[in-house]
Amino acid sequence: MIKFDHVTKRLGRKTVLDDVNFEVGEGETFVIVGLSGAGKSVTLKHMIRLMSPDSGTITIDGEAITDLGRRDLSRVREKFGVLFQSAALLQWMNVRDNVALPLREHTKAAEEEIIERVTAKLALLGLDDAWDKFPSDISGGMRKRVGLARAVIMEPKIVLYDEPTSGLDPVTSRRIDDLIVNTREQLGITSVVVTHDLHSALAVGSRIMMLHQGRIVENAPPEDFIRSKNETVQSFLESQYITKKGKWEEFRHE
């Protein structure tokens, strides 16, 4: 579904991605973890060509996106829904208009139908009462959920989440985890989740990849990730009080 082939990216003097290779299969929930500045957001941005690699290729659904023209790029981007790290809602539109925006821009649906679809999606995310509020008047957790609603309203094949739980309280974080799992189960989509929250990673991931200084140090299913021999991975696990002896299944919640 998504394939990185020897991708290298330099920004300023720093090599942010250094010969990165990985593949995300269809229907997977692929989690990218790593310390701040490891290159996680940069990796996500490459998938939708908000950034282009200095060398290497990125393939989406069997199609190399590195040299696509504007039309084709648009067509590839249609496959994606993206939840940005800052939610990236338009400040002058209320919650409902923000979520309705892709529908209004790209479909010929009648206004009543748009409202209906948006209202249903907002209800699903527990935002029934907030539809007429503006982004500056709602909490960070609500903004993230609105961003999520906007990301999935066009029913994309792939959803990218950049730190869906950062800055949220543990209870809301777990709810977002559930949302990610539910969204995947209901829509059968492929997800890529960027996070530094290992609890979240273990809860939602079918595969976990760790980036460190622009290189992949581990890429394994959660049960193997937690027992990784790599020192960087181990210290990352320990920093969040997760030990090798722990059972990763405990992090899954029903």
Partner: protein, 262 residues
């Protein structure tokens, strides 16, 4: 490396960057201009109307005060000079011609650049650093259609309209000073003004205003989109948008005057 070589290199790099930025801004302007045909289409109608309203209303108070007082100052200065030669009845034309030709479009442009232009740069700058522009791109919503075009329409339309308003108020301000300080009656003032100010003066002035509107939009939107480094960057972009707009308005204003009056 020796100092002159290094500084020459740095200058070279800066010139290249400037050319690159200018090209970028020009492309943005061209694309937004092409999208003007959709200004009142279903998707953009609301935003275009909002921008027209915001541009028209936001600066009205400042424009009113500045225009009135500029007319009064002009009338007083030239009027006192003319009075020494017993020619004070000519202040009507002195004020009207200089306001319609130069001062009207120019002052309106400066005020709009400082109020509306800076607000555009700040808004688009904030959107850039908070990933909202990236989000639009991922949703295949072209920012040049969605954001630049409505602002372009608003400024290109409102600048000439506001300039007419500035002209009228400026001339009225002059009339007030003429009547109260110089003993020139209102009708004598207006007779003299209409006798010397030509239609050409008015149309060249309005053409200038239209061009200034395009310049302000282009510079402000471009500076907004180029913003980096968070909130600090937004401040920088705002300041730069005003300074660059002022400079280009001065230079282009001179060129248009030359074009039509030589």
């Amino acid at each position: 490396m020796t100092y002159p070589v290094r500084s020459a290199q740095r200058t070279g790099a800066r010139v290249l960057q400037l050319l690159h930025d200018t090209g970028h801004a020009m492309f943005m302007l061209l694309e937004a201009t092409w999208f003007v045909q959709f200004a009142f289409g279903k998707r953009s109608r609301h935003e275009t109307v909002t921008q027209l309203f915001v541009t028209g209303v936001k600066s009205l108070a400042v424009i009113t005060v500045v225009a009135l007082f500029t007319g009064m100052i002009l009338a007083l200065q030239t009027g006192l000079e003319l009075q020494r030669w017993g020619q004070e009845e000519f202040i009507g034309s002195a004020v009207a011609v200089s306001i319609i030709r130069e001062m009207g479009p120019f002052m309106t442009a400066l005020i709009i650049a400082a109020s509306v232009g800076s607000a555009i740069a700040a808004q688009l700058g904030t959107m850039t650093v908070s990933e909202e522009i990236a989000a639009l791109e991922v949703m295949s919503i072209n920012p040049n259609r969605f954001l630049v075009m409505p602002r372009l329409v608003a400024l290109a339309v409102m600048m000439p309209i506001l300039t007419v308003y500035t002209n009228i108020l400026g001339i009225m301000g002059g009339a007030v000073v003429g009547a109260t300080q110089l003993g020139v009656s209102f009708s004598a003032y207006m007779d003299n003004a209409t006798q010397f100010a030509t239609n050409k003066d008015l149309f060249v002035g309005l053409f200038k205003a239209f061009v200034f509107g395009i310049i302000i939009t282009t510079v402000s939107c471009h500076q907004g989109f180029m913003t980096t480094e968070g909130a600090v960057g937004v401040g920088k972009a705002t300041r730069r948008s005003v300074v660059i707009s002022f400079l280009i308005i001065l230079i282009v204003g001179y060129m248009i005057t030359r074009l039509f009056y030589i």
